[in-house]
């Protein structure tokens, strides 16, 4: 009898095994438990021990097997056939040796001559710790991941305001929250934790308020729905702020202690200090000190002193005669004058009564239902507290707010709403996740001069970072952008995640210069991840008069036969998430929860299929081929595998900080900081592939001013200094840019009037609402509908069109619109219609829906596919009926100050403005989706599509 064994409570039959890894059917990265039999995957379920998903698993994660066995898998390195055109997907299969030789020769030459001619942009890999390091060591500034077209407005606006942001760096304290605002589409970020959280909220009778033009997904379980018009959330939140101010429902103590709302600002016009905090330089003090107006003594006083009563409102004079006021006063003036609920209602379409009521509900609950936990802690001013207090009101927002050209200021508005309620990092509210909070803004600064790009030399600083002032921009002496995506330029200054959406357009236009090699990893930039899809496909295949491609060499790494692969010159076949070593690192985008800094690994469950190779391993190999420094241990022994790199690499020699935080030190007994441990990987495997460490209760709250936490965080090298992180109610950073634009600030200043005017208009240190840029250029009467997308819960972008199970749940999308509006246009339910914007049009099938704001139409994101892509049948619904809205979304708008073309993005953060689209709709005479492109032929080496699929497990069944 073969032996029966046990593993984690399972009695395993002969040949059976249980392994733990990390899901990657979406970016949520849940723990998974995989049952294997004779080395094959039998079943994937949630890991019950895992902090992220606690045993549950969504539709995507549950369908991982079908991703693994998709016939769209690419398993050979491919080189575009001689004479074949880009886009036709005609390739020669080559060996890895040939592939690496071609790529190495090319990159070696670029690195030795002009490293910026290599651009490396990655999709949703979430392995930016490695990919950015590779680019930095290569010496090119032209690196970014996909954040610029994802949700960077949420990340930057919140990080620049409160030192943390929604999703990976903060979120709702669902266990105690009783009133939750959910803004915009959030069904994808993050997936299972929000669903688990909503269950908590419902269990204790909490109220969910959904603010979204569309009621679907989480909107279905909302207690109240605010059908806001797209791009007007900022006005709506301002209306709510008006109510909080009017009814005195703001947390004065929180504002004074943890934000700069009461700091006195020097309002002396024309000075280099205008609008900056008035600072006191004490004789015996090394540092300058912020000041407040003390109502007790009627004098200025140092901020954060005991026995003072700082004024939030008022205008004052300093002893030397300067006019002073507070950030709170400036916001108060603006909100009271311009944003009553009635004024907000005319912009956002939500009735004033409803805006006022929900603001009152939240404000009163925050004031009256104080949560008190018997936890002692000490603040940064040395005051001991017997308890931690909080309010059961919270907020979550992602792309709905982010994907507009006014999203940065809207995110700032939202952050201030949260500060007024006093709910940040307190029980029941919005809590940070390690490694956040970080200083405002965080320390890393992008390289800021073309002179720092040198042949055969790594960059001295990272490519990406958080500018604090114009001197951190990556511009040349004439004020021109240096990066191919024009990130960190005067036009797009705070582009912390880069602007991947601009790369192809700019590279095609040689603007600002011609690239040599462009490499994409896990990104579908010729299809659903680009605006203006049809034109961008042409740009990818465009040639100069001499017959050379305008983008000379295009390298694509992907595991599947995507639309992007069709345009590649060189294809590097990647593995699935079940075939690789991988990390989810605290250096990158971790899976920490509020009380537990955490990270995780992926272990190979199966061997790589065919000749595919984990892309991370390809990068390590490439680094060695190119002789990049920094891919070896302290003794100079090279890391040959990615697994060795994960466990052996340190952020600096002897820093003790590496990709994984758990079981560091030679004996594996140190956490977060410690020497590399040769057995670290095995320790993770033993702990079900993740690591978490529990924070002491005293350092779980008020972390931006919690001395114990800041000491802990500094000791473990999550932050450099253990100084208080005072939130930017008033944005000093934006004001510094403004001063530069006004010519009042020493250091870098804009080079042109257009640059000055753009900064002056949008870099307001007090948030405001403005009409999304594209909409100011599109006549409302001609294009009366807003058009947006939502994220389906069972499908993640275009990742799973090849998934036999998930495509049964969602293989066609429709255009959802109000039935009365459709009827007025003569369009009946399920009829076909044209959707047209000033730059593109598509023919789509209409479904009438009452669950959408009537001036808005919407559809699911990324369901439409090019015929034959993803190895689907050419006549699959995804190709013939489903559609992308992208064809209608312009990649460029008119720069109002130059009348020249400029990226359709937020003028502060560079976030792609997907949701600013406006369209007209009219009845179509024909049916079926338009436009149609060429049909891609399956690659010869790919598996044949099955006609019948029966995923069973080595059992004989009937027939």
């Amino acid at each position: 009898m073969p032996e029966v064994t046990e593993n984690d409570g399972h009695t395993l039959a002969p040949g059976e095994d249980i392994k733990y890894s990390t899901c990657y059917m979406c970016a949520c990265r849940c723990g998974i438990k995989i049952t294997l039999k004779y080395g094959k995957i039998k079943y994937i379920q949630g890991n019950p021990h895992h902090p992220t998903n606690q045993g549950v698993l969504c539709a995507k994660g549950s369908s991982g097997i079908m991703k693994q066995f998709s016939p769209a898998r690419i398993t050979k390195p491919l080189l575009r056939k001689k004479g074949a055109e880009r886009g036709n997907a005609e390739f020669d299969e080559i060996s890895w040796e040939q592939a690496m030789k071609i790529l190495t020769a090319r990159l070696k030459h670029i690195r030795a001559t002009d490293p910026k001619k290599f651009a490396f942009f990655t999709g949703r890999d979430q392995m930016q710790a490695l990919t950015s390091y590779f680019s930095k060591q290569f010496g090119t500034p032209n690196f970014a991941a996909h954040g610029g077209f994802c949700s960077v407005n949420m990340a930057t606006s919140m990080i620049y305001s409160m030192g943390g942001s929604s999703w990976e760096f903060g979120g709702v304290d669902f266990e105690r929250c009783k009133y939750m605002f959910l803004f915009g589409v959030a069904e994808d970020h993050d997936s299972n934790p929000i669903k688990l959280g909503l269950a908590h909220l419902k269990d204790h009778g909490g109220k969910l308020v959904v603010i979204n033009p569309v009621r679907s997904g989480y909107g279905a379980v909302a207690d109240e729905w605010l059908p806001v018009k797209p791009g007007t959330d900022g006005a709506l939140i301002m209306g709510m702020i008006h109510v909080l101010l009017k009814y005195n429902l703001f947390d004065k103590e929180f504002l004074i202690n943890t934000t700069n709302a009461a700091y006195l600002l020097d309002m002396t016009e024309g000075s280099e200090k205008e609008g900056l905090p008035f600072l006191l330089a004490e004789k015996d003090m090394e540092q300058t000190q912020h000041v407040v107006w003390d109502l007790k003594t009627n004098k200025m006083a140092e901020a954060h002193q005991l026995n003072t009563e700082p004024a939030l409102l008022g205008r004052f004079k300093s002893p030397d005669g300067r006019t002073l006021t507070t950030g709170f006063q400036l916001l108060y003036d603006r909100v009271m004058k311009e944003y009553s609920p009635e004024q907000a209602a005319t912009i956002c379409g939500v009735p004033a009564e409803q805006i006022e009521r929900v603001a009152l509900e939240a404000g009163i609950m925050a004031r009256d239902e104080v949560i008190t936990l018997p936890i002692e802690w000490t603040d940064v001013w040395g005051r001991d507290h017997k308890t931690v207090t909080g309010k059961p009101v919270s907020v979550h927002a992602m792309r709905g707010i982010a994907a507009h050209s006014n999203g940065f200021q809207t995110g700032r508005t939202l952050s201030i709403f949260m500060m007024l309620l006093g709910i940040i990092d307190r029980p029941g509210g919005f809590r940070y996740k390690a490694p956040f909070p970080k200083p405002i803004p965080p320390c890393p600064k992008p390289i800021n001069s073309p002179d720092l790009i040198r042949p055969n030399t790594p960059l001295p600083n990272p490519e990406l970072g958080f500018p604090s002032n114009p001197d951190h921009l990556m511009v040349d002496n004439d004020g021109n952008p240096v990066r191919i995506d024009k990130a960190f330029s005067w036009e797009f200054p705070l582009t912390a995640h880069g602007m991947m959406q601009s790369v192809i357009t700019n590279a095609h236009n040689y603007d600002p210069y011609r690239l040599d090699t462009l490499m994409f990893f896990m990104a579908n930039m010729s299809w659903n991840s680009t605006m203006n899809t049809g034109e961008v496909m042409k740009m990818l295949a465009a040639k100069d008069a001499d017959g050379e491609y305008r983008i000379p060499f295009l390298v694509v790494s992907d595991a599947f036969f995507s639309e992007q692969v069709a345009y590649a010159d060189l294809v590097l076949p990647d593995t699935t998430y079940l075939e690789r070593h991988d990390v989810v690192s605290l250096l990158d985008r971790p899976i920490s929860d509020y009380d537990h800094p955490a990270d995780a690994i992926r272990q190979p469950i199966l061997p790589p299929k065919g000749d595919c190779r984990p892309f991370q391993q390809t990068l390590i190999d490439l680094a060695h081929e190119l002789e990049l420094p920094g891919f070896a241990d302290a003794d100079g022994k090279p890391f040959l595998t990615y697994k060795e790199f994960i466990t052996g690499w340190e952020s600096a020699p002897g820093s003790g900080v590496g990709f994984l935080a758990g079981w560091r030190g030679v004996n594996g007994d140190k956490h977060l900081v410690g020497e590399p441990n040769p057995n670290q990987w095995e320790a993770y495997i033993k702990n079900n592939s993740f690591f978490e460490i529990e924070l002491e209760p005293s350092i779980r709250y008020n972390r931006n001013i919690n001395q114990g936490y800041l000491n802990w965080s500094q000791k473990h090298k999550l932050i450099r200094l253990n100084e208080p992180i005072i939130m930017h109610f008033y944005s000093e950073v934006l004001q510094r840019f403004r001063l530069a634009a006004k010519g009042q600030r020493p250091g870098r200043q804009p080079a042109t009037d257009a640059q000055r005017q753009r900064i002056l208009k949008y870099f307001d240190p007090v948030p405001f609402w403005y009409e999304p840029l594209e909409q100011t250029q599109v006549p409302l009467k001609d294009f009366p509908f807003h058009a947006i997308t939502q994220r389906p819960m069972p499908m993640y972008h275009s990742w799973d069109s090849q998934n036999a199970w998930l495509r049964q749940i969602m293989g066609q999308n429709f255009l959802y619109m109000n039935p009365d509006k459709a009827a007025a246009l003569g369009i009946a339910d399920m009829e076909w219609a044209w959707v047209e914007s000033p730059t593109g049009k598509i023919r789509v099938q209409v479904k009438c829906s009452e669950a959408v704001q009537p001036d808005t139409v919407w559809t699911w994101n990324a369901i439409g596919k090019m015929s034959g892509a993803w190895n689907l049948d050419p006549d699959a619904d995804e190709a013939r009926k489903a559609f992308l809205l992208n064809h209608c979304i312009t990649d460029e708008i008119v720069n109002e100050f130059t009348n020249k073309r400029i990226s359709n993005s937020d003028p502060i953060s560079g976030q792609a403005a997907w949701y600013d689209l406006r369209v007209k709709i009219y009845k179509a005479d024909e049916t079926g989706h338009w436009p149609q492109f060429q049909t891609l032929k399956p690659l010869p080496h790919m598996e044949k599509r099955a006609d019948i699929l029966r995923y069973e497990f080595m059992r004989d069944k009937k027939k």
């Binding site: 009695t11 369908s63 008022g314 199970w805 009452e850 669950a851 049948d873 699959a876």
Partner: protein, 242 residues
């Protein structure tokens, strides 16, 4: 008596299809599998799913509700599918009330799918037999699984914790408690089938606000704050009126 069943809370269900997909993943490799898919990569893909989620809109804008309704075999007490089955392939177990199909005896006549008031039968074209939810009978008694996992796959997977499983004839079971506390109801009771699965209705959380009282307090406070501020420092400008 014992009647195992599912209870589904529509107040919590977000319509994510996790229950449906994980059901498919477990059952295709389990005792009731495989769950055949036809045209898996072509037009009109269709497969056997023991659990499907339907979505409905109720009402007119803006007073509109969206309801997600996951649906699988109700394991009826008077199961019409069992009554009409000419071969006895469909049967209801005495010990726990679970309705099952013996594939070996099924002739694929589809009487049961016509009889089922809930549309919860799934015909496997490839095998020519009728299939359906087994309530994961190969999990719930499976001693090879850890005890906490001896539940239907849909219940374990559900990220919104909107599903309970248990014996509805035992008032102390989690399922019975949910029904009692959440006003659980049966879908289409008029069918006469007496379905065992139950649904909990949507509920609304409302909060009362006394605006008048609030306004009084607020004005007093803000005015006080403003006067104090104005009296200090040499302020000449007006502070905005609330």
């Amino acid at each position: 008596m014992s009647q195992k069943a599912l209870v589904i809370d529509l107040h919590k269900c977000v319509g994510c299809h996790a229950c449906a997909a994980n059901c498919k993943a477990w059952n295709t490799q389990g005792d009731a599998g495989p769950l055949t898919d036809t045209n898996p990569y072509a037009k009109d893909p269709e497969g056997v799913w023991f659990n499907r989620v339907q979505t409905y809109e109720v009402g007119k804008f803006p007073e509109v509700e969206v309801v997600h309704l996951p649906k699988s075999c109700m394991h009826c007490k008077n199961a019409p599918c069992v009554e009409v089955c000419p071969t006895g392939a469909s049967y209801k177990r005495v010990e726990d009330g679970i309705v099952l199909v013996n594939y070996d005896d099924c002739i694929g006549c589809k009487y049961c799918s016509w009889a089922c008031p809930y549309g919860c039968r799934e015909f496997d074209e490839f095998e020519g037999v009728m299939k359906k939810c087994t309530l994961c009978v190969d999990r719930i008694y499976n001693e090879a699984l850890p005890e906490e996992e001896r539940k239907p796959a849909c219940v374990i997977a559900c990220p919104a914790k909107a599903r309970a499983y248990g014996d509805i004839d035992d008032p102390s079971s989690q399922a019975s408690r949910w029904i009692a506390e959440g006003k659980g109801y049966k879908l289409m009771p008029e069918s006469g089938a007496d379905p065992s699965n139950h649904y909990l209705p949507k509920r609304k959380v409302n909060i009362h606000v006394d605006k008048e009282a609030l306004l009084k307090v607020a004005h007093a406070h803000i005015n006080a704050a403003r006067n104090i501020a104005c009296d200090t420092g040499s302020v000449s400008e007006d502070v905005a009126q609330p």
